[in-house]
Amino acid sequence: MKELRRILMVEDEPDIQAVARVALEAVGGFTVEMCSSGREALSRVKDCNPDLILMDVMMPGLDGPSTLKQLRADPGTAAYPVIFMTAKVQSHEVSRYKDIGGLGVIAKPFDPMTLAASVKTLWEQEHVGTG
């Protein structure tokens, strides 16, 4: 199974960026690159070459789903797995995010001590058996 090491987080809220960085780096042991918008993510994703993109749904300008759509439209970025983060986690909303190509959804607000484990669980569900 491919190992999850590098995460590109796309989040416009500085307070969430700060706590998520601790949660993912210090708790989870991941390397984290941070982007503040969908547009910034699109411009940096190839250089960053993350194993996973963790993306807020509601962002000014290009929101999470629109950013994912643009990632999928470019053959060079189409394969990056994306997990959404959102407060909208009713089952039909989660289904919608998966239908548009999201790997899964992590609820906001999140517990900083368990965020990394939640990310890893979704990652492993997708990658078990893929070598």
């Binding site: 307070d15 969430i16 700060a18 601790v22 708790v27 042991g29 607000p109 001590m113």
Partner: protein, 114 residues
């Protein structure tokens, strides 16, 4: 998983302390935005900006462990969302509810910062 738990806890505690100290200002900014929203002709742009601002505070407050403030902000978010979906200003009853929510948010923010 990576660093000793106390080190992580210290980092989170520092972030929480700073966030708590900033909360009154954050709520004041929400209050200003809501005042603009309520005092000007309804526009989708202003309504969405208000929705986004209170939505952000609802999410961050909960993540930083200020659940009651997050819940109050979420109640305000739902009121603004109704306006956004109806593409219409809030009615008198909803304005009253929003005033109560903001008042509660201010109380909770002040308590967190104290």
């Amino acid at each position: 998983m990576s660093e000793p738990a106390d080190s992580v806890q210290n980092q989170l505690a520092k972030l929480k302390k700073k966030y708590a100290a900033d909360l009154p200002q954050k709520v004041a900014r929400v209050e200003e935005q809501v005042a603009t929203f309520l005092s000007t002709a309804w526009s989708e742009e202003v309504c969405f900006a208000t929705y986004r601002q209170i939505h952000s505070l609802a999410g961050s407050a909960g993540t930083y462990g200020f659940g009651e403030l997050g819940t109050a902000a979420r109640a305000g978010e739902h009121l603004i969302k109704r306006s956004l979906e109806n593409k219409a200003p809030l009615g008198d009853r909803e304005r009253g509810e929003l005033a109560v929510v903001l008042s509660r948010m201010k109380e909770l923010a002040a308590a967190a910062a104290a």
